[in-house]
Structure formats: structure tokens, C-alpha cells
């Protein structure tokens, strides 16, 4: 790299435009293989000539850049990244080969095969859509005549497989919904929380962490959330009424509670 490039930020990244396009499209990728295929196409060479190593590096760099922006990266992209990092190490350090495992070259070939296969199916899909189609370029008889059927019944019943499956699925779904045993959630009502809190605080006017009053509930995982929520709501109500005072040093810091002294309350 020339020294000059260091002075000009825009020269540092060889193709910032392309990266930006990819970043914007990150949600548009349908999984890691799709992203890899897009990167391979960016190599602007025939798929048969892609460098799997270069591709792995581009993918890892891309995921890194996305993560550095604190964007959520779906787990399967990270799994692919981990695998590509492994592949990279296998390609760069071919010795010693772990026994009973395919060589780095074999792994790379496998990846290239999957990319080529996906690309082939993309092209096949495009060719299918480009075909002359019924109802678009060629047509059926506009005035069909009813053929004599084997039976003599007056009605010909119409039903498709999709309708049949959808009907069954919908019926079962409703059945499941009605047979679901909802676990009875224990919820502490606000009134109860309020009464309890006042009783526990008692006459004490010393700052005490609110959790201390809830210790009995906090030990039980199923009660923890509802105990905290009810206690907080009740305490806010009590503050408004001038019964108690609340104090918190910072976000997520312990919440302290005390009875408002009567002298102050009356003052």
C-alpha cells in the first residue's frame, strides 16, 4: 500500500460504494449461501473460477463490518462465518491434517459445488418464468364442452388437494388451540401488592432496597416478574399519595424505598 493512501481516507477502501450497497441489502439476503453467492458474483468472474479462500475472507470481512455497526446478525450467518474461518485455516495451514476429515480442498470444493448448484437453480427459475405460458402466450379452448363422464350423477364435485390440506390444518389448529392447557399464571393484584408493601415497610423510615421486601417472591422464578411489577406499580401509587418515597442512583441500580416521615408529609 502506498504511503499516500494513508492520508486520504477515501482511498483506503478500494470500493466503498460496493460495500455500502451490500450493507443496505443485508436484509435482502436469503441466508448465508445467498450472501456468499452475491460476494462470488462481485468477484466478477465466472463461478467456476471463484477463489473460495478470497470468498471466505470477503464473507468474514463483511460480517465483521455488519457487526461493527452493532447490527443484529442472524445466527446462521455467524455459523457460516465460523465455518469459513475454519475452512480458511484449513486452506492456509494444510498440515497437519486431522485424520478422518476431508481436506481443506475438499471442503472448498464442496462449498463451490453448493454455490454453483444454487446459481444453476436461480438460472433455471429465470428460464422457467421466461417461458411461454398457458393463459399468457398460449390458450385453452374458450368454450369447452362437457364430456360425458363415466357416472350419471348430476353434479361434478370440485375440490383441490390444497383446499383439503388447508381445511384439515385449520381444523387441527383450532383443536390444538382449544385443547391447550394454559398454565395458570400467578399474578399479584395491585391492591394486594400495595397492602403487602405497606405492611412490610411498617413504620420504618430507613432507605431499604425494595427487593428486600420481595425476597419471599424473588426466590420463586414464576413469581419474580409479577412481584416486581406489582410492587413497583403499587409503590408509584403510594408515592403519588405521599405515603412513601423512592430513590434510585442510576438506571438499573437498586431501587430504595422508605416510608415518608409523617412530619414531612404533614409539612
Amino acid at each position: 500500500m502506498s504511503g499516500k493512501a494513508d492520508f486520504f481516507e477515501e482511498d483506503a477502501a478500494p470500493a466503498p460504494g460496493e460495500d455500502e450497497v451490500l450493507l443496505i441489502d443485508v436484509d435482502g439476503f436469503e441466508g448465508p449461501l445467498d450472501l456468499l453467492l452475491a460476494l462470488a458474483r462481485n468477484q466478477k468472474v465466472d463461478l467456476t473460477k471463484i477463489s473460495v479462500l478470497a470468498l471466505a475472507e470477503q464473507y468474514l470481512a463483511f460480517i465483521e463490518s455488519v457487526r461493527s455497526l452493532h447490527l443484529q446478525v442472524a445466527a446462521d450467518y455467524l455459523v457460516m462465518a465460523a465455518w469459513l474461518a475454519y475452512l480458511k485455516s484449513r486452506l492456509l495451514l494444510p498440515d497437519p491434517e486431522p485424520p478422518d476429515e476431508p481436506t481443506g480442498e475438499a471442503l472448498a470444493a464442496r462449498l463451490a459445488f453448493r454455490l454453483k448448484r444454487l446459481q444453476a437453480m436461480r438460472e433455471a427459475a429465470a428460464e422457467l418464468t421466461a417461458r411461454e405460458k398457458l393463459g399468457r402466450e398460449f390458450f385453452a379452448r374458450g368454450m369447452p364442452e362437457a364430456l360425458a363422464g363415466p357416472g350419471t350423477s348430476e353434479t361434478r364435485w370440485q375440490a383441490g388437494l390444497y383446499d383439503l390440506l388447508a381445511a384439515y390444518a385449520a381444523k387441527r389448529a383450532r383443536h390444538f388451540a382449544s385443547s391447550i392447557q394454559l398454565k395458570k399464571r400467578t399474578v399479584i393484584p395491585l391492591a394486594e401488592a400495595r397492602e403487602r408493601l405497606m405492611r412490610l415497610i411498617g413504620p420504618s423510615t430507613a432507605w431499604t432496597p425494595i427487593d428486600q421486601y420481595l425476597a419471599e417472591y424473588l426466590a420463586r422464578p414464576d413469581m419474580r416478574a409479577t412481584a416486581r411489577a406489582s410492587a413497583l406499580s403499587a409503590s408509584l401509587e403510594l408515592v403519588r399519595e405521599g405515603e412513601i418515597e423512592l430513590m434510585q442512583a442510576s438506571t438499573f441500580a437498586p431501587l430504595y424505598i422508605r416510608r415518608k416521615s409523617k412530619e414531612k408529609a404533614s409539612a
Binding site: 370440485q158 390440506l165 390444518a169 387441527r172 390444538f176
Partner: protein, 215 residues
């Protein structure tokens, strides 16, 4: 203007390729038409200056001895089945009816849970099945009584027929996707409670007397 010459020229002055193309065009238009078309309507769809009457009569002659004839009714033209082959057609058009939702549900439950009794169908459907629904299904030829359950009351069980498989393009009942497969395909929008088999309960040993099929 060249148009005047085209208009005044007779059919034979056209190249054989053009005449053949015009016949092909007319054939395709008449075939795809949803209603009989008058010569004027046909002419409007054809290249300008085409002698529509001559073409129509040529096509009519070409099809005169075929299984399908080009018929003129009043001003309008249409392809119709040759009158002597009328026996191939329905005398009165069969009414095409869509299977009702309850019938479709019942059919699906019979297909998935066969052999199944009426009470069992109702248990899955959550509503009582009207006699009409089962009658319709029996009429379709897709469902038939399969036997009697060896339980008190010896209730009749139902199952699907070969015609059912043919109609729905299935090679076997086991081709029906199971609950997990329905969910994976995006057809089932519910959590399958544990204990429900991923696969439908096919091939269970029958605990019943089969009806004599010939009887």
C-alpha cells in the same frame, strides 16, 4: 395507397404463407373465443384487408369432415363438436359444484384418520356432522363405509376410495403430509402440542369387521 390494393385483391393473390398464417390466426382466435364471434368481430382482430368470409369458408371446409366443425349460427361463428359425435358429450351439462367447507373438513378427517366413525369425526371437527355432509361425500365417490367398529353399538367406519387418490393426485394415503409437515409447509399455524404424532396415524391395525365389498 397500398391498402386499397390489398382490399381489392382476392385471396389467391396473397402468398401461400400469408394465407396459411391468416388461417392459423383465425383458427386460434375461434378456438380461444369465449363466445361465438361474428365475421365483423373476427375481421377486427385480423390484419386489415383480410377477406374474412373467404377465410371462414375455407376453414369451414377444412374442418367439415373432422371431429370438430366450424359452425355458423346467425352471424356468429364457433368451433363445435361434430353432430354425429354428440354421444361423447353430456346431454345436459353436469353441474360443477365446489365441495362445502364442512364437507371438505369431514373428507380431510376421514382421509387422515380412516377408518373413522362419525362420532370420531365430530370429535375432531368439534361440531356435529349433518347427515347431508356424509351423504355428499358418499355421492362424490371419494368416501365409502369401511366396516364396523367392534365397540358397543358397532358403529360404521368410513374411509377413502381409489377415486379419492386419483382425484387428489396422490399415489397413497401416506402421501398426505403429517402435522409436522403441514406446519413446515406453512399450512398449519399452530404449535403442535407434545404427544401429537408428527406423522398421521396410518396403518393402524384395524380393530373392526370389514364390510364385504361385493355385498
Amino acid at each position: 395507397m397500398p391498402d386499397l390494393f390489398v382490399a381489392s385483391s382476392n385471396v389467391t393473390s396473397l402468398s401461400p404463407e400469408d394465407r396459411r398464417l391468416h388461417l392459423r390466426m383465425l383458427e386460434a382466435i375461434l378456438f380461444a373465443a369465449a363466445a361465438p364471434l361474428s365475421a365483423a368481430e373476427l375481421a377486427a382482430k385480423m390484419p386489415e384487408g383480410v377477406k374474412i368470409d373467404a377465410l371462414l369458408h375455407e376453414l369451414q371446409t377444412a374442418y367439415a369432415s373432422r371431429g370438430v366443425n366450424l359452425k355458423q349460427a346467425g352471424e356468429a361463428w364457433a368451433f363445435r363438436t361434430a353432430p354425429d359425435l354428440g354421444f361423447l358429450l353430456e346431454e345436459h351439462r353436469q353441474e360443477e359444484k365446489k365441495l362445502s367447507r364442512p364437507a371438505l373438513e369431514t373428507l380431510a378427517i376421514i382421509a387422515y384418520h380412516q377408518p373413522v366413525t362419525r362420532a370420531e369425526i365430530e370429535e375432531v371437527r368439534g361440531v356435529s356432522t349433518s347427515k347431508g355432509t356424509l351423504d355428499v361425500l358418499l355421492e362424490t365417490g371419494w368416501v365409502r363405509p369401511k366396516g364396523r367398529r367392534r365397540t358397543p353399538g358397532r358403529p360404521l367406519t368410513f374411509g377413502t376410495t381409489t377415486e379419492f387418490l386419483d382425484h387428489f393426485g396422490l399415489s397413497a394415503i401416506s402421501d398426505l403430509p403429517g402435522l409436522a409437515e403441514l406446519k413446515a409447509a406453512g399450512l398449519l399455524n399452530a404449535t403442535i402440542p407434545p404427544g401429537f404424532d408428527a406423522q398421521p396415524p396410518f396403518g393402524e391395525p384395524p380393530t373392526e369387521d370389514f364390510l364385504d365389498e361385493d355385498g
